[in-house]
Amino acid sequence: MGRFILRRLATFIPILLVIVTLTFFLVRLAPGGPFASERAVSEEALRQIEAHYNLDAPLWRQYVDYVAGLLRGDLGPSLKRPSRTVAEWIWIKFPVSLELGLYALIVAIGIGLPAGILAAWRPNTWTDYLPMSLSMGGICIPNFVLGPLLVLFFAVRLEWLPVALWETPSDKILPALTLGAMYAAYIARLTRTGLLDTLTQDFIRTARAKGLSEARVVLRHGLRGALQPVVAFLGPAAAGMLTGSFVVEDIFRVPGLGTEFINAALNRDYTMILGAVLVFAVLILVFNLVVDLIQAWLDPRLRHA
């Protein structure tokens, strides 16, 4: 197991290098630059700024310097907000996105899994139809519609929760719900399908024949097999919740990395864009690895593959 993890971690380096290379040349070869819009700046001053940030060197040279910096753990200075380095900005902003993403993950699993089990418990009765109709809504209503509707209902009309703050725990309920709802809906559907599939198999009949309680049959024996597709979905889902919170951060004024990234892209803050993309890519890689490990734990046959 340890060797497997090490081997996978070793593949991260070339993958990240490819991603950095692609992003670097994509953002650099495009028209415009971080200081192009500041008309008040004279030609001379502009040249000085560019020289200061090494932007006047040949592109390949800048690339080599950037990658060399990365290897030392240096993400460079932020071009548009020079008061802090990119690493410092990420250190400030990313924990906020991470926190939001974790709450959303809790919402997604905490609501999705029980809803799916409930639906599969007695298929084609109202305990199936109700959660499944709700999950249909979760899939079809995008979070930038759901979020404002939740605000309108719970914050404006009922005044139970604050509109847009990010301080106390109650501020975090609506953003987490908004971000997690769609994933909860998918998890509920996947759990229901997986469980219905597993419950028709022979070993379940054996478990029932042994006289085990229905709860034990479903939760202990059925769920383990049913969880495979759910876990496979959780990797991209967790990465999506952590890297896809742009809209939710925008709606609820959450000071996270998503908002930071969009501003960086609009302002051509090259180093900030690259830093954010790197963080997101590492997250996706790590979550894929975690999913593979959980799957191997759930199904021992996969361990030897």
């Binding site: 519609v145 309108l152 990465a239 742009f246 925008d250 969009i262």
Partner: protein, 295 residues
């Protein structure tokens, strides 16, 4: 469904009966049929509706700003007195265009890439699929945001940018199909006849993989539409005075406390479209590939 004058086991090629079979199964799937009908209504209304309306998407009725829904303005008007009904339909046109164009781009890249990799096999296949694996690690929304902020905000570029990041899964599906199909006898026969590999690939292999391709295409369209709405919501997609469901929702959110219909109508239009395409896609999957049927 079945024409009684035809023999029960027709001599025609099996393809016809496969499609007929699939259509039969699709018709029994109520959710998919509701989706199909709803989708047809939305598409026809979006395309035809603006021609028959007394208003245009950018005409301002200054005496009726922020008016509630009425006989004159069915969905009310926005802060400039523009008719929301026509603006929602215009947004629908944008969504349909983006959905079709971006999906076409992703379909083209994905099918050709996947088919070539699957058919050639060996080192080429290995290398091509490794590239797909790496691209999978790129955060999609982020790539789309970079492409859109950098390469202008024209609608055409939005299509291409979205299509260019959405082809990976299609490539994997097509590769898998082609890989298993090329072991079949009819491909060996085609090779024995000395047909060039391009002809075998495009005339024999891809048509036989059409089922999964159609299913995944149907499921790509709503993803692409959602991405367009998302980018437009963030102010990175369709620009004023054009309307898109994303920009309309953004405008609606700003005033939702006093004028909720400005959020509700475009929100419902987008959700209903996503609903119909998702369930039509699910229905098609069950119909075209009963083995992978989920319920």
């Amino acid at each position: 469904m079945h024409d009684p004058t035809l023999p029960l086991t027709p001599d025609t090629d099996a393809g016809t009966s496969l499609w007929r079979d699939a259509f039969h199964r699709l018709r029994r799937n109520h959710l998919a049929m509701v989706g199909l009908v709803l989708l047809s209504i939305i598409v026809i209304l979006s395309i035809v509706g603006p021609w028959f309306s007394a208003h245009t998407f950018d005409a301002q009725d200054r005496d009726n700003r922020l008016a509630s829904p009425s006989a004159r303005h069915w969905f009310g008007t926005d802060h400039l007195g523009r008719d929301v009904f026509v603006r929602v339909l215009t947004g629908g046109r944008v969504s349909i265009q983006v959905g079709l164009a971006a999906t076409a781009v992703s379909l083209l890249i994905g099918v050709v890439y996947g088919a070539v990799a699957g058919f050639q096999g060996g080192r080429l296949d290995n290398g091509m699929m490794r590239i797909v694996d790496i691209l999978y690690t790129l955060p999609f929304t982020i790539v789309a945001i970079i492409l859109v902020t950098y390469f202008g905000r024209s609608l055409l570029l939005v299509f291409i940018a979205i299509g260019a990041v959405e082809w990976l899964t299609m490539a994997r599906i097509v590769r898998g199909q082609v890989q298993s199909l090329k072991e079949k006898e009819f491909v060996e026969a085609a090779m024995a006849m000395g047909l060039p590999w391009r002809r075998i690939l495009f005339r024999h292999l891809i048509p036989n993989a059409l089922g999964p391709i159609i299913v995944y295409t149907t499921l790509t369209i709503p993803r692409v539409m959602l991405l367009e709405a998302f980018l437009s919501y963030l102010g990175l997609g369709v620009q004023a005075p054009m309307s898109s469901w994303g920009t309309l929702i953004k405008e609606g959110v700003a005033v939702m406390e006093e004028y909720p219909w400005l959020l509700i109508f475009p929100g419902v239009a987008l959700s209903a479209t996503l609903f119909s395409l998702n369930f039509l896609g699910d229905g098609l999957r069950d119909a075209l590939d009963p083995r992978s049927s989920k319920d």
